[in-house]
Symmetry: C2
Subunit: 165 residues, 2 copies
């Protein structure tokens, strides 16, 4: 999970929501990813999605049985879908995502017995670190917006004080 | 849907499960895709996934509000996820997928009121054409396997008839 947190920091440094992921196979990292959705304007560019498709390329197969995924935030529906399809064995995730999490929060898509593969889910792994990184990111965004608003208000006030003559 | 069926035929011609999709925006096709999972050995290469990410590139945005998706088979979990995320307005799909369909068969992921976007779903559009294409594909595969099995059996029989001297 330390490696996934490193990836998350890379996303944060680029102004993306700080989420990171790695895929491990036979004790080695075969895929890394960090959230790049805004920068690439591509809806598929979630951290774990990038890590999984990189692992597909590295191993030359769309199937990843016996692989583990480490991701700092609970996967969404799309990412749960690719995890289930690739037959990844274990998912270790950090913070819960109450609004969009599809592994424990809104759904339990990785443990559905009707599907042809089930995944072992390990929730809350280094959750506090992952969560505080996300909270700080959103707090910074709110503060930046507040500062921009204040600056606009001050500019309008100073314009209204100008003597029209 | 005719354009999506054309895409599906391209997949079938390459020995992939014949599924095709197009994304339409302002009356124009902005993304096309056909299933390429086996050829590319990449789990993300479903028809509608390719069409959606192509539309992201064409329009320079990961959001696709007011776009329509036409796909010959009911989307899986992963594809329902990217559809929901991109804010596509309408999904028209052909055949149901009772084993993995996440739009009507196993789940109704596109109409969940807890998520931040809901999609209008139009099921069964040219379902018979899409379905018969899929059935024919799987029938051909079964027959090819049967022929290969028969040939192996005949080869073993002819070997056993050879006089050991």
């Amino acid at each position: 999970m330390a490696a996934a947190l490193v990836e998350a920091r890379k996303a944060g440094a680029l102004g993306e929501v700080p989420i990171g992921a790695v895929v491990v196979y036979n004790g080695e990292i075969v895929g890394r990813g960090f959230n790049m959705r805004e920068r690439l304007q591509d809806a598929s560019q979630h951290a774990e999605f990038i890590a999984i498709t990189e692992a597909n390329r590295q191993l030359g197969s769309w199937r990843l049985p016996d692989a583990q995924l480490f991701v700092t935030l609970e996967p969404c529906i799309m990412c749960a879908g690719i995890i289930q399809q690739t037959r990844i064995t274990d998912v270790y995730y950090g913070a819960d995502d109450p609004k969009a999490g599809a592994v424990r929060s809104l759904y339990r898509l990785l443990e559905d017995q009707r599907l042809n593969h089930q995944v072992y889910v390990h929730a809350g792994v280094h959750a506090e670190v992952a969560s505080s990184m996300l909270k700080r990111f959103f707090k910074d965004i709110r503060q930046a917006k507040k500062r921009a608003k204040q600056q606009r208000r001050l500019a309008v006030e100073s314009l209204s004080k100008v003597d029209p003559q």
